[in-house]
């Protein structure tokens, strides 16, 4: 088994990470914003306008 990455694989990894990090870095959060680690989408149902 080879753990070495080919040049193509390295490029793919770098492009993926660049895109993700570009996107994440643009986000701004309020001081109380929290990760949705308790993933319960139905809690939003009661909040419909």
């Amino acid at each position: 088994m080879s753990n070495e990455m080919t040049e193509d694989q390295q490029k793919r990894i770098e492009a993926t990470l660049r895109r993700i990090r570009d996107g994440l870095s643009k986000a701004s959060f309020g001081q109380f914003s929290e990760p949705s680690h308790i993933f319960d989408p139905e809690v939003h149902n009661g909040k419909a306008k």
């Binding site: 753990n3 990455m5 993700i20 570009d22 996107g23 994440l24 986000a27 929290e34 989408p41 149902n45």
Partner: protein, 453 residues
């Protein structure tokens, strides 16, 4: 392809009225599979296993002891669902090759209902891609034009249904893998709300994004099959509060929001077909755009890669030769993201859910094209549409990931054809947990669009 294939609902009626038998249906499906072998839709079909199930169903029916209305109907299974009598490969050389002796919960439910577990379908390796071109048995071909891809990752299931081999099949959906190939092949596909359908026994891609779902010839087929998907399963903690599939409510208002704007571009042909379909839908349609689509997409991608890498850690540690080079690169990217980045992605996920579920004007369903373009030709690496240039992979997930990141129930329905005669699908997304309401609304719209209602 213009004549509609026989649906599961048609078969339910034909069996109930004695116009056909499970053995006839199985023989017809096997014959069709032999005729359509060049689609490369199946990894495994064992004629003896299929016929033994059909004969058993026939005996039950002849004694008037059928297990359910679908007793004796052949259903194909994506090759990431464990099945007790077929190997499960995820179309990867890195997966186990022996039969597991275990059925995924959805497969077990269908088997208990008498469905004939017909065979295992081709898929994008480990469901880790949306083109169905990366598979250890080769790409699946689109029944509408064999020079075009099916999309994926449940591409074999879509091809098997669209070509009339089986009336319905199982898929799994992490960023659109049920809806993408369903749309590209002109059939119906449904992703349940996160937490309503058991994922037990479906090889994971990304735990918090994955959902199993049915793919079928007709919307009624989806409704027939959802009782076998939805409800609490002690083997899947995400379903601890899941309600069983209930009766569809009477369709009330049809308030649709047609989403568009930056990040949600599509080609003009798809845009025209969707707008024309909305015009015929008799729904009240308003327009809205979303903020920060690129940030939300980055969050989906971060969560996807981190969860997939975590799931595959042991395989990567032991040796990664079995993965295709592209899949290995995805997994390595997930390894290099930090815990802080993952938590930031989860914060963005919360923001997206607030935006969709709380901040938009009141809606009964959100509308997008399922795909921004019709199914591309095999071998095309890049796509251009509107002012965007994107890889074929990203073009396939262009809209669908939104439903996974927010945990919404989502449905694709066929609404038209491109100038090259390739299918175009429209996606409807409902509020989380309200799968029945989405289907009731979709039934009304489908009636207006596809049945001259």
């Amino acid at each position: 392809m213009e004549k509609r294939n026989e649906s599961l609902t048609d078969m339910v009626a034909a069996l109930a009225e004695g116009r056909t038998t499970p053995v006839e249906l199985a023989e017809r499906s096997l014959e069709r599979a032999r005729q359509m072998v060049d689609l490369n839709a199946f990894v495994t079909i064992d004629e003896k296993i299929v016929m033994a199930q059909a004969e058993a169903a026939g005996r039950r029916r002849s004694r008037m002891q059928e297990s359910s209305p679908i007793d004796g109907i052949p259903i194909a299974i994506k090759d990431n669902y464990l099945t007790r009598d077929y190997p499960t490969t995820a179309c990867s050389d890195a997966a186990p090759l022996e039969p597991s002796g275990v059925d995924a919960t959805v497969v077990a439910n269908l088997r208990a209902a008498g469905a004939v577990i017909f065979g295992k379908t081709n898929m994008h390796e480990w469901a880790y891609g949306a083109t169905n071109t990366t598979s250890n048995i080769g790409p699946t071909k689109n029944p509408h034009n064999k020079a075009h891809i099916t999309g994926g990752s449940s591409g074999g299931s879509a091809a098997a249904v669209a070509s009339g081999i089986v009336p319905a099949a199982l898929g799994s959906d992490t960023g659109g893998s049920v809806r993408i190939p369903s749309s590209a092949c002109g059939i119906y596909g449904f992703k349940p709300s996160y937490g309503r359908a058991s994922r037990h026994g479906v090889l994971p891609l990304s735990w918090s994004l994955d959902a199993p779902g049915p793919m079928a010839t007709d919307l009624e087929d989806i409704i027939h099959l959802l009782p076998y998907f939805l409800g609490t399963d002690p083997k899947d903690s995400s379903t601890s509060h899941a309600e069983e599939f209930g009766p569809l409510p009477k369709p009330g208002s049809l308030r649709l929001i047609n989403l568009s704007g930056p990040g949600l571009e599509r080609c003009s042909e798809v845009n025209f077909v969707i707008n024309e379909a909305l015009g015929r839908s008799k729904a009240r349609v308003s327009q809205a755009s979303l903020n920060n689509v690129d940030q939300s997409f980055a969050a989906w991608e971060a969560i996807l890669h981190c969860e997939a890498s975590a799931y595959h850690q042991n395989r990567l540690f032991k040796g990664s030769d079995g993965f295709s080079p592209v899949t290995r690169a995805h997994l390595e990217a997930g390894n290099r993201l930090t815990a802080v980045e993952l938590l930031e992605a989860q914060k963005i996920r919360g923001q997206l859910m607030t935006q969709l579920l709380d901040d938009l004007p009141p809606w009964d369903a959100l509308v997008l094209p399922t795909l921004p373009i019709p199914a591309p030709a095999l071998g095309e690496e890049w796509q251009k549409f509107s002012n965007r240039k994107a890889t074929t992979q990203d073009s396939m997930t262009w809209f669908c990931w939104l439903g996974n990141l927010a945990g919404l129930p989502c449905l694709t329905i066929p609404v038209g054809k491109s100038s090259q005669d390739m299918p175009i699908g429209m996606m409807l997304m409902g509020r989380p947990g309200e799968d029945e309401k989405l289907l009731a609304l979709a039934k009304e719209i489908d009636q207006n669009l596809n049945r001259g209602g």
